[in-house]
């Protein structure tokens, strides 16, 4: 697998060089959940080992004294969206951190969840403390292909198309929609067109190789998120075979507003402890149970996480309600 952040490393190094020549411009690296920006940070640390120190958010939690004890001129802090909770009093720590950043003469290189960043930029105007913002871009099918298979010889991998499991999808299907009219309630059949099936029907398969079709689908399902693509790739790779078992999400997400709100919190954090959810909403247990039952999140002990393969559909659902943007 090739290193995927060549251009981004150049940008970070430019910020570091400018700092060394006397111009400080704190950097925010903003990316979607699962993007895999940690390898970018690893590389930055490796390249500037002599004057860089790395911070963990858990070291900062509740106490900013750690910051004062750091001697390096360049501080790299990851996952800073974990410094806030969406509740009254939930901004205390991040605001103290921002005040420290404003008063410090050190260079801060930070990473943020893109949805938390958008929210905090509107709620707290955090952008002013981080004038240089680098939004990690979506990758297209060719970039994802290069990233994933450049370490293999030509024809080393055998791509196999397999029909996705599950019920056969029809081009036009009928769904039952509830309605009420002057006190009378019932359900009426409403036709739904499967857009994906329609696209498949009109796409010219014969012009593209199996591997090209595989990576186009991978890019589409992962929405260009290399971290998600990597997870899906690992699920498909059965060396030397690559079996396409990826299922496109076609079903509409049916959630009430409260459930969608909790989902937006989890998406904005990537993963979050149950206890934090309970502090934000009442009946957190029930809401998490519903999300888990619907297969939208997974629970590992006390931590709730969104499923990488569901990310695209969840974000589209939440964006419609402006719960994330």
């Amino acid at each position: 697998m090739t290193f995927r952040f060549v251009e981004e490393i150049d940008q970070v190094q430019k910020v570091v060089e400018e700092f060394e020549s006397g111009r400080r411009s704190n950097l925010a690296i903003i990316s979607e959940p699962f993007y895999g920006e940690t390898s970018l940070v690893d590389k930055v640390v490796e390249m500037n080992a002599s004057n860089v120190q790395r911070l963990k958010v858990k070291d900062l939690a509740g106490d900013l004294k750690t910051l004062g004890a750091m001697s390096a001129n360049i501080l790299i802090a990851e996952d800073l969206h974990r410094l806030y909770l969406r509740k009254i009093g939930g901004f205390d720590l991040i605001q103290r951190f921002l005040r420290y950043v404003a008063s410090s003469d050190k260079l801060f290189i930070t990473t943020w969840n893109s949805y938390s960043w958008s929210y905090l930029d509107e709620a707290l105007n955090i952008g002013k403390e981080f004038p240089t913002q680098m939004k990690l871009s979506k990758k297209d099918a060719d970039q994802i292909k290069e990233m994933l298979i450049s370490g293999y010889e030509e024809n080393e991998l055998e791509f196999i198309e397999e029909e996705t499991t599950g019920p056969d999808r029809k081009l036009i299907d009928l769904g039952w929609h509830p309605f009420s009219f002057r006190g009378f309630e019932g359900k009426v059949p409403v036709p739904y067109i499967d857009v994906l099936k329609l696209r498949d029907r009109f796409s010219r398969k014969e012009n593209k190789s199996v591997d090209d079709r595989f990576f186009e689908k991978l890019a589409r399902i992962s929405d260009g998120n290399p971290g998600v693509a990597e997870v899906l790739w690992k699920d498909s790779l059965d060396y030397p075979k690559v079996v396409d078992r990826m299922a496109e999400q076609v079903s509409r997400i049916e959630l009430d507003y409260e459930e969608s709100f909790v989902l937006s919190i989890i998406v904005s954090m990537g993963h979050i402890e149950k206890g934090d959810i309970y502090e934000i909403v009442e009946c957190g247990d029930e809401l998490l149970y519903v999300l888990s039952e619907k297969g939208l999140i997974s629970m590992e002990g006390e931590v709730c996480t969104i499923k990488p393969e569901s990310l695209k559909g969840l974000v589209e659902h939440l964006k419609k309600q402006k719960l994330v943007w």
């Binding site: 009254i88 507003y257 402006k322």
Partner: protein, 273 residues
């Protein structure tokens, strides 16, 4: 002038009013009614499915209704009564003057309806206050506008009220809407802390919608015996207006109590009395 109109109408071909003519007229009116109801129902359903464009789609409903009834009226006058365009205009003026005296309120309502459709002071889906009635516009009909109040009552407000009274529109065709929430605290309480808490209650609410064009603000007003905190924030869907207000008020007061911020005290009010 009146003689000219009478003269023009006198030259209109005589139409035998038979059962076919009556049936055709009734059939056209029924078709117009059914088509108007059906298209309204379809547009309402579609608009509720497309979350972000609800109001834009509903805007088409009154326009469609007025067009359908206008075309039906024109068709009845022109094709069935077989009037030429000049006779039709003359007849409209004559009939208008005649019914204007007898049914002036009804005519004023219909004219109000046409002005509402053309001038768009409000649209279906908007939150408006007309006279003393506040609610979401659910329908703009030929003679009245229907509002669904916060208590889920359906209020019919005559369209002519728009011509004679001020209309306040909270969202003016947008789905987003500003909500103003007033909280009152004791003069001795820490107002700076209270403002900070209220702002956090506002921006952390599950219903808030914040962007550069939709900022969240808290204002303070000092009154003789209390202080008024006014929070201004937006909801993305105007139907969340009261949920937003409740959520912010409830959480803000909980935090106020924990921070020792008190509501205006009765002792202060006694002084006034």
């Amino acid at each position: 002038m009146a003689e000219n109109v009478t003269d023009t109408l006198a030259h209109a071909p005589l139409v035998n009013v038979d059962s076919t003519l009556v049936l055709n007229t009734i059939l056209i009116l029924i078709l117009a009614y059914v088509s108007s109801r059906a298209v309204t129902a379809i547009l309402v359903w579609v608009s509720e499915q497309v979350y972000g464009h609800r109001i834009s789609i509903k805007m088409a409903i009154p326009l469609y209704k007025f067009s359908v009834y206008g075309i039906a009226g024109y068709y009845i006058a022109k094709s069935i009564l077989e009037l030429s365009t000049v006779q039709l205009v003359a007849f409209s003026g004559f009939a208008g003057a005649a019914i204007g005296f007898g049914l002036k309120d009804l005519v004023a309502e219909v004219v109000g309806g046409i002005v509402i459709v053309l001038d768009k002071p409000y649209q279906v889906g908007d939150k408006v206050k007309i006279g003393c009635h506040y609610g979401e516009v659910s329908d703009i009909g030929l003679r009245s506008t229907k509002l669904v109040t916060p208590d889920d009552n359906l209020v019919s407000v005559s369209n002519q009220m728009f011509l004679s009274q001020a209309v306040s529109n909270s969202n003016a065709g947008d789905q987003e809407m500003m909500v103003v929430i007033d909280l009152f605290i004791d003069s001795k309480s820490d107002a700076t802390l209270a403002m900070e808490i209220l702002r956090e209650a506002l921006v952390t609410s599950r219903y808030v919608y914040i962007s550069k064009r939709h900022p969240a603000k808290v204002l303070l007003k000092d009154c003789p015996f209390y202080r008024r905190l006014r929070a201004k924030g937006y909801v993305y869907d105007l139907r969340q207006e009261f949920d937003f207000e409740t959520d912010v008020t409830k959480r803000a007061w909980q935090a106020f109590r924990e921070a020792g911020i008190r509501p205006p005290q009765l002792a202060s009010l006694d002084v006034v009395n």
